[in-house]
């Protein structure tokens, strides 16, 4: 345990390594949360700067990823609050990005029919995620995009494990409802 904490502390001290290892995850989570590449980049930068400045406070009682995600969650929450007034102004620009994202389907030699179905499913999940509450979306993204387990999500969000589960259930219910409408 002590060795793990020391290793974590040394990883945090090395900003270059920290950024190289965790930037993609933090940026991806911010991008999926805010749906704005510029804002996501800004959040990721602030996240690493904040993490580096407060590295002495990291006690190693959770993973570095959970710690960074916790900082990112708070930054995204603050930014989302500040952006509320600008939401409608930015909505059209974000919609363009989402349109492109929705078109992405992995090449797997699938039939045109299944590709169409996959696109519809993907759009349904994106729409469902967009309609989730802030907390539901956060735990949904951490679980199903970042593959974090419940305890890590609890550490990253400051919620209890039971609360995380509850938000996940509601998020999954919303996603299933959207997909169910496709039939």
């Amino acid at each position: 345990m002590i060795a793990a904490v020391e290793r974590s502390a040394s990883e945090i001290d090395d900003l270059d390594t920290l950024v190289r290892l965790y930037w993609p995850r933090v940026f991806r989570f911010a991008l999926a949360s805010l749906r704005d590449p510029d804002a996501a980049g800004s959040v990721a930068q602030d996240c690493f700067l904040k993490a580096y400045r407060s590295r002495e406070r990291f006690r190693g009682d959770c993973s570095i990823q959970a710690w960074l995600m916790r900082i990112a969650v708070n930054l995204i929450r603050d930014r989302a609050r500040n952006r509320r007034l600008q939401f409608w102004k930015r909505a059209s620009a974000s919609a363009v990005d989402l349109e492109a994202v929705n078109q992405w389907i992995p090449d797997g030699g699938a039939s045109p029919e299944s590709r169409v179905m996959a696109k519809e499913q993907l759009a349904a999940v994106w729409n469902a995620a967009g309609g989730l509450s802030e907390r539901q979306r956060t735990v949904f993204l951490l679980r199903f995009v970042e593959d974090m387990d419940l305890l890590e999500i609890a550490a990253a969000t400051g919620m209890k494990e039971g609360t995380v589960k509850l938000h996940l259930f509601r998020a999954l219910h919303a996603v299933r409802e959207r997909i169910g409408r496709l039939e």
Partner: protein
């Protein structure tokens, strides 16, 4: 277990909480199996699309460590900030000193003025004849004066005449 999975059980399954009974049921029940497979596929597509989008954006803007690093970002900002803080402190420290010096100067001037006034008062008090009347005293050959100098002169001259 013959009943289909409830909505809650499907959610539990998706986050990895499943019982052996449920696993057996899903193997045997095409309806529950299809429902779970469809949900898993949709979530996998979503994960893939987010990662694809993020990777594309990340390539465009590589991690700007130079912007993040406080060591490299700091020197441009900190000296200016410190200089401003130092200047502000200097001003704050100088104001009482300046005020104190001004106050001391004012007190010294008052003391000097008081001293001059006292000298004037002393001079007026010790004067035999009020200043406005001094010209009259000079005009009149009235050898009566209370000034010590004239008394002495008178005392000096009188005995000499008497000796003659």
């Amino acid at each position: 277990m013959s009943r289909h999975l409830s909505s809650r059980q499907i959610s539990q399954w998706m986050i990895g909480e499943r019982t052996p009974q449920q696993e057996r049921h899903v193997r045997d029940c095409s309806q529950c199996g299809a429902e779970l497979a469809r949900l898993e596929a949709a979530l996998a597509l979503f994960r893939g699309s987010v990662r694809h989008w993020s990777d594309g954006q990340n390539r465009a803007e590589l991690p700007p460590i130079a912007n993040i690093s406080p060591a490299r970002r700091g020197p441009r900002i900190r000296p200016v900030r410190w200089a401003l803080v130092a200047a502000a402190l200097l001003v704050l420290a100088a104001v009482p000193v300046y005020r104190d010096a001004q106050e001391r100067q004012r007190q010294a001037e008052i003391a000097r003025a008081d001293a001059r006034l006292l000298e004037q008062v002393d001079a007026e008090v010790s004067r035999a004849v009020p200043r406005p009347m001094e010209p009259l005293v000079k005009l009149v050959s009235w050898d009566f004066s209370f000034t010590g100098e004239r008394d002495e002169n008178r005392r000096d001259t009188t005995p000499k005449e008497e000796i003659r």
